[in-house]
């Protein structure tokens, strides 16, 4: 199955500032038989920062999008659920979350809603910036949280294969 629409947003709640941004450019693949998946998000496409300068800092200073243009998460769904039957499933996606070139093995809880035309995946999780080599200068530590909350929704439909 192929992702037809996606929304990925993050929320950084620091004492002095709250930053949110979202991204609708994510792509993804899901294999219902093997229970494997791969999701790719172009990091430079995040929009909705508090200022254009902030977005520039995000891309250039913290995420180095020129060097690592995308964040990926690929792995598999642990639970042996049958995703071709309509219903709502709570599953765990286990795989390598790669942000800024640093891969971390994560087990992310996901909710999958299967309907007649396809399925929707929703997941919320936290990313510890330090885990991925994202260093926050001491000066702005009050403005950027060390742990960022990420929410992701993706809709998959059969791609004909």
């Amino acid at each position: 199955m192929r992702a037809v629409s996606s929304t990925i947003s993050f929320l950084s709640e620091a004492p002095l500032e709250t930053i949110t941004a979202s991204n609708a450019q994510g792509t993804g693949l899901l294999d219902l038989v093997e229970h494997t998946f791969a999701v790719r998000i172009p990091v430079s496409e995040f929009v909705g920062f508090n200022s254009p300068l902030q977005r520039e800092h995000f891309n250039e200073n913290y995420m180095a999008t020129a060097k690592w243009p995308s964040a990926t998460f690929q792995g598999r769904i642990i639970e042996a659920v049958e995703l071709d039957r309509p219903g709502t499933y709570s599953v765990r996606a286990k795989g390598a979350l790669t942000i800024r070139g640093v891969a971390r093995e994560r087990i992310l809880p996901c909710t999958i809603v299967v309907d007649a035309s396809g399925l929707s995946v929703h997941s919320a999780f936290e990313v510890v910036l330090d885990d991925h080599g994202i260093r926050i200068p001491r000066l702005v530590q009050q403005k950027i949280a060390a742990t960022v909350r990420v929410e992701m929704s993706m809709r998959f439909v059969a791609d004909g294969r």
Partner: protein, 937 residues
């Protein structure tokens, strides 16, 4: 059915929020130089050393020193496991590497391991390596083959997170779809949610010593899989686990340890089943790896340079429910397993386990700040007695009622220092002697001392420890003894054999067996400072004081300083604040809080594991586990060793000896020794580690080697040399002997020759002929007769002169010959003719004397001289020989032979020259060719 069983076996529900209690944790810093490596995995090898997988590579430590065994950038090591010698590691780039203290060797390499990295390694008892891969199933690797076990073989999932080997050789694997148990490579059983596991996603697994399997899950916490109990049973910790994924699990004795992502390690005491311990210092930290070491202590690493070691034998409770437990004034345990303690706040009790859900019970005893409770005792009837200093005693009955007794009730004094339960009743030590309380009330005891610190009873004999008057004892029906002269004794304690020991500051342990016995350890800590209490645990007496803690085994007499092992240095406490609970653990109230000491035998044995790390002979590494034999020039021994005492690595000392060099036992702090210029011989190097006084009877770690003699000093070389020497001597002797024999023969030959010559010359025929000729001459020509006589005289004189000489010149011989021929011509007239041709150049050549004369004489003797022709004898000298030849005209009657002749000449010449004497008969001529020899010098 099995689900029903599961639900009935659910043991305890943990709702751990926060707890201050945790076994004593010590951190070992693993740093190489200035950098701080991030440790992600640990393993302990068979020798006891700790190996750490870090972002700088593989490090090894003995708690004191750190060595880099394999430098490696990044988190390259994904799994590690100890083997017989050293450890094996799996790396991210797909290699299995075996590392020992000396070297690392790649065992196997496979590019598929880069795609499906090895997540765990284990070695079974046959030495087979089992590897868990994430995506590639299980791998079984032995010397000959590499086999994989995947989903197709019944493995629930190819994504394996961990594995372990059971003591019976079975292998258990934790996969993304539950646990799987293997026997001989075949799946025997599976434990997933369907079978009752709390979660399919099992992250870690541990095979405990009792044969069961513990597993940690992603969101179901920890569960136990009891394999032995027929139907599969799951023993869950909790129905709802709130601590997040469990990355590591361990079961050690009665404790189960879980390593969490965000709450550090959590320890659960299964025996007490009442709660969990969590380390306040580890809150918010992830446990990367858990390990139980050979001493039973649990280690974890949290991604920093620190290795944390939790020692379950010691536990500190500094405060509980807001109550400060660092100022406890009295302590006791009761038959119900509760612990009673008094502080300035009042009297309390609590179960002998401190966790959040257990609360302290305040006992309603009125507390006067000026007359606090200083001693507690539980009697056999369920009452607890609290003694105050100034206000008598309180009895707390089992039903909760409290009774108060003072001197008005018969107590000897209201200032009670100690209360003890005995055989006959309750004993009180007061400022005015001792009182006994029994069914009939209080009885004043006939002890002569006034100020009594402690009282005890054994076999109906009572003992009182006094201030400045030693210890008094008195039996129930009279008679008594006095011990310890005029010392002050603070405490009396009964050992497991039932004997009473007394102790005070500076007194040591005094056995109260018979008066006059000497105290033990009087000059050691803690007796050199303030002594607070003596407790009894594990068969040993443990003395607590401000200068240290000393354990004494009354059976063996062994003394051990356990101050550092229990981290009890520099404490202060009240007198006698010590009690032993039903589990044998010792509770002690001091300035560090309420302390639970549960010593293991290892604490008292004091043996420290000693590891021989490496030995080099002549700069080449040799094995230390077998006898090594090296050449004589590798006579420098460098040996490295260490002692493993992680509770206090800095306190380790060593005793060593080198049997073969000398027999002395030396002591050192060094962990490397060098012995230079060792003589050839057999050696045994022994080392053992110790702390405190000495190694006692600890076993030696030994390394045997021998330095061979140089080849020229080996037995066979010496033997061969001697044989050679004998041979040479033999040959020389033989040669000498031959020379002597030859000379003797020569001498004999000469004598015989001279004799023969003389004899021939005085041959009667010769004389007769000469005289006949002389007679004729005298008559016919007297003048010629005179000449003849003169010639005869010259001839004999010449013979006499020359017979002693070995050789003479040809000239002299010719002269002699001519003289002789002249004599013979008198006889034969012109019938004979001797032609002599000797060139002048050969006149000085050498010749054996009389040779020519003899040959000519021979010729005349053997031939008929008279006849038609003149008998011509030719003497001819050429370059290297002289020839005497004559025509062969044999006589009709052969002459009588004297035995002397050519043979004799031949023999003499053979001794003087290699050239032969030739005798030729040809053309009617008889020729003898004599080689010319060097003239006489």
């Amino acid at each position: 059915m099995s689900m029903k069983l599961v639900s009935t076996l659910v043991l305890c529900v943990l709702s751990v929020t926060a707890a201050a209690q945790f076994p004593l944790v010590r951190a070992v810093e693993v740093r190489t130089g200035q950098r701080r490596p991030a440790i992600s995995r640990m393993a302990q090898d068979a020798q006891g050393l700790l190996w750490a997988a870090t972002d700088e590579g593989l490090l090894r430590t003995d708690g004191d020193r750190v060595e880099t065994m394999l430098a490696m950038e990044g988190d390259g090591i994904t799994a590690m496991a100890p083997v017989q010698e050293g450890i094996i590691i799996a790396t991210l780039d797909g290699a299995l590497v075996h590392c020992t203290g000396e070297r690392c060797d790649t065992l196997a390499c496979d590019t598929t391991w880069r795609v499906h990295p090895i997540t765990a390694l284990a070695i079974d008892k046959h030495g087979v390596i089992w590897a868990a891969t994430y995506g590639g199933g299980l791998l079984r690797i032995d010397r000959t083959e590499r086999r994989s076990i995947t989903h197709a073989d019944g493995l629930p999932d190819d994504h394996v997170n961990d594995l372990d080997v059971l003591s019976d050789g079975r292998v258990v694997a934790a996969t993304d779809q539950g646990l799987a148990l293997f026997r001989d490579g075949r799946v025997e059983a599976v434990m997933s949610e369907r079978e009752g596991a709390p979660d399919n996603l099992t992250l870690c697994v541990h095979a405990s010593a009792d044969g069961s399997v513990w597993a940690g899950t992603d969101r179901g916490g920890v569960f136990q899989w009891r394999l032995a109990e027929g139907p599969l049973a799951v023993l869950k910790f909790s129905t709802s686990w709130e601590m997040g994924p469990v990355r590591n699990v361990l079961a050690v004795g009665d404790m189960v340890w879980a390593g969490t992502d965000a709450d550090g390690p959590i320890a659960v005491d299964l025996r007490l089943q009442q709660g969990a311990y969590r380390s306040r210092d580890a809150m918010g930290k992830a446990v990367k790896d858990l390990l139980v070491d050979h001493d039973g202590a649990v280690w974890w690493c949290d991604g920093t340079e620190l290795l944390h070691r939790a020692d379950p034998s010691i536990l500190f409770v500094p405060e509980h429910e807001g109550l400060d437990l660092r100022r406890i004034t009295a302590l006791c345990t009761d038959a119900a397993g509760r612990i009673w303690f008094a502080t300035a706040e009042g009297l309390f009790n609590h179960v002998a386990f401190f966790s959040e859900e257990r609360t302290i019970t305040r006992v309603p005893v009125p507390v006067d700040k000026r007359a606090g409770i200083i001693s507690l005792a539980a009697d056999n009837n369920g009452n607890v007695w609290a003694a105050t200093f100034g206000n008598g005693v309180y009895k707390v009955q089992a039903d909760g009622r409290v009774k108060h007794y003072t001197s008005a009730d018969g107590l000897s004094n209201d200032n009670v220092l100690s209360v003890r339960s005995g055989e006959r009743g309750i004993w009180f030590a007061t400022l005015e002697g001792v009182s006994l309380y029994d069914a009939d009330g209080f009885h004043r005891q006939p002890v002569q001392a006034g100020f009594v610190y402690d009282v005890a009873e054994a076999e109906r004999i009572a003992y009182a420890a006094t201030d400045g008057e030693g210890v008094w004892s008195w039996a129930e029906f009279g008679g008594g003894e006095h011990y310890g002269a005029d010392s002050s004794f603070y405490t009396l304690v009964r050992d497991p054999q039932g004997r009473i020991w007394a102790a005070g500051s500076g007194t040591g342990f005094l056995p109260l067996l018979q008066p006059g016995l000497h105290p033990i350890a009087a000059d050691r800590p803690p007796f050199d400072g303030e002594l607070y209490a003596i407790g009894c645990s594990g068969g040993s007496l443990i003395a607590f004081g401000n200068t240290g803690v000393l354990a004494f085994d009354p059976k063996s007499g062994a003394l051990r300083d356990v101050t550092a092992a229990f981290s009890l240095d520099g404490i202060t406490a009240e007198l006698n604040v010590v009690a032993t609970d039903s589990s044998g653990a010792l509770w002690f109230g001091c300035s560090k809080g309420l302390v639970r000491v549960r010593p293991t035998p290892a604490h008292f044995i004091g043996h420290i594991a000693t590891a021989l790390l490496s030995a080099r002979l002549g700069n080449e590494v040799v094995r230390t586990d077998s006898t090594v034999s090296v050449d004589h020039d590798r006579n420098t021994l460098v040996v490295r060793f260490t002692g493993l005492h992680y509770a206090d690595p800095g306190a380790v000392r060593f005793e060593y000896r080198l049997i073969g060099l000398d027999t002395t036992v030396n002591r050192t702090r060094d962990r490397e020794l060098t012995f230079n210029a060792l003589m050839p011989g057999d050696y045994i190097f022994g080392v053992r580690a110790y702390t405190g006084d000495g190694a006692g009877d600890a076993p030696w770690q030994e390394f045997r080697f021998s330095i061979n003699l140089p080849w020229w000093r080996t037995a066979w070389a010496i033997a061969a040399g001697m044989v050679l020497l004998l041979l040479v001597a033999f040959v020389a002797l033989r040669a000498r002997e031959r020379r002597i024999r030859y000379r003797d023969r020569m001498e004999q030959e000469k004598v015989r020759f001279q004799l023969d010559a003389l004899r021939s010359q005085v041959d009667p025929h010769f004389l007769f002929n000469s005289f006949n000729a002389l007679v004729e001459l005298i008559e016919s020509d007297p003048s010629i007769a005179v000449q003849h006589v003169e010639q005869l005289s010259i001839f004999f004189r010449n013979i006499l002169q020359m017979r002693d000489r070995e050789r003479i010149s040809l000239q002299e011989e010719i002269a002699l010959l001519e003289n002789y021929v002249a004599l013979e011509q008198r006889r034969f007239g012109n019938a004979i003719q001797v032609d002599i041709h000797v060139p002048d150049s050969l006149q000085h050549s050498g010749i054996v004397p009389l040779t020519l004369q003899l040959l000519v004489e021979n010729a005349l003797k053997h031939n008929t001289v008279v006849g038609r022709d003149v008998f011509i004898i030719s003497v001819r000298a050429t370059a290297d020989h002289v020839e005497v030849s004559n025509p062969i005209r044999p006589r009709l009657t052969p002459p009588r032979s004297t035995g002397f002749g050519i043979q004799s000449i031949t023999r003499r010449y053979a001794a003087l020259t290699d050239r032969p004497v030739e005798v030729l008969r040809e053309d009617g001529l008889f020729t003898v060719r004599i080689p010319l020899i060097e003239p006489e010098p």
